[in-house]
């Protein structure tokens, strides 16, 4: 590895990170749109008894539930049913980091790689969004709402773990892992590792 390659790479990462954060914030409603679709599809398949619909407002995803609010302070829809809003920015802030790391590698077809990496992260972001929705209705909203969901005690434990994992680990680790996987050759040059090859035979 050339001396100074890592510091140069890091300088580029910081430069791209600044720009990426701006682009991410401005384009968040567009970037989040597939997550809304996936959340809607997941809810329709597995949570159809709880969720009537999934909508997007800006960068927020709104779950329209079939649950009755238990308290006057709970957010309700025009139909008098509970709605749950999830701020997707707190689960997608890894995208600027991913973009900065990808662009700083200065590899050919970096935009294509970035597009693929973005697609790979969509299910992870959907996990975080749906887990927060489930945590909100099964735990945070209180016993009046939780009892309507029909989740058992162990299911609430699983939801709590899924939420914590989706909030604290996936948003940061997901982009880093995807970047490492997509840039093995670059990392091999940077560190001299990652792709151990069988020893070549000597003539």
């Amino acid at each position: 590895m050339r001396k100074g390659a890592l510091p140069r790479f890091l300088l580029l990462v910081f430069a791209w990170l600044f720009l990426s954060f701006i682009v991410w914030r401005v384009s968040a409603p567009f970037l989040v749109w597939p997550v809304t679709l996936l959340s809607h599809a997941f809810s329709a398949m597995f949570l159809s008894d709880l969720v009537n619909g999934v909508e997007q407002q800006g960068s927020a995803i709104i779950f329209l539930t079939s649950l009755r609010p238990a308290q006057a302070t709970t957010t309700i829809s025009a139909s008098g049913l509970l709605t749950v809003e999830v701020d997707t920015l707190i689960y997608t802030f890894g995208l600027p980091l991913l973009a900065a790391l990808t662009l700083a590698t200065r590899q050919p077809r970096s935009m294509r790689t970035l597009g693929l990496a973005y697609a790979v992260l969509l299910p992870l972001e959907t996990w975080s969004v749906v887990a927060q929705f489930l945590k909100d209705v099964a735990i945070t909203a209180g016993p009046g709402v939780a009892s309507q969901t029909g989740f058992s005690a162990w299911q609430r434990e699983v939801i709590a773990f899924a939420y914590q994992f989706g909030a604290l680990i996936l948003p940061t680790v997901g982009p880093a892992v995807v970047w490492v996987l997509a840039h093995r050759a670059f990392l091999e040059r940077l560190s001299g590792r990652f792709a151990p090859r069988p020893a070549s035979r000597q003539a």
Binding site: L6, I90, F93, P96, L168, P171, A176, R193
Partner: protein, 168 residues
Amino acid sequence: MLRFFALFILIQGLLFGLELTPWAQHWFVMPWTGTLARTSAGLVKLFDPSVLAQGNVLQSTRNGFAVSIEAGCNGIEATIVLLAAIIAFPAPWKRRLLGVALGVAAVQGLNIVRLISLFYLGQWDLRIFEWAHLYVWQALIMLDVLIVWLLWVRMLPALSSVSEPARA
């Protein structure tokens, strides 16, 4: 590479699950978070005497502004990710332990910088505080983990000396 990622995800899941147990919360997470608050307050007091730490709360006695250090802010999750990456990577155990010691110091050191910066950003502008707290510092901490891990990997002996048994 596949083995590394499988181990990385497994170790990370185990450590994260362990962190969430009431036992770990009581005996490790809460005391560690309190230590972080006291350390941050101790450092800030070097140049600003109007700061005190109560449990996991860092507070200014001048204007009453306070930050509470919660899960996700104490650097434990970032440390878990680094630990999993170091343990999962093929390397001699001595090097792993050295990597863990230096890596934890690097991550937690930057986390203290983060806490102190957020404490002052919050007193200056709450919108910027929110932005830095929820998005920017999260990304920077993960970048720190990645850099520390890459540096550790670079410092390892050559792959052949890791995988081959020592010669008599």
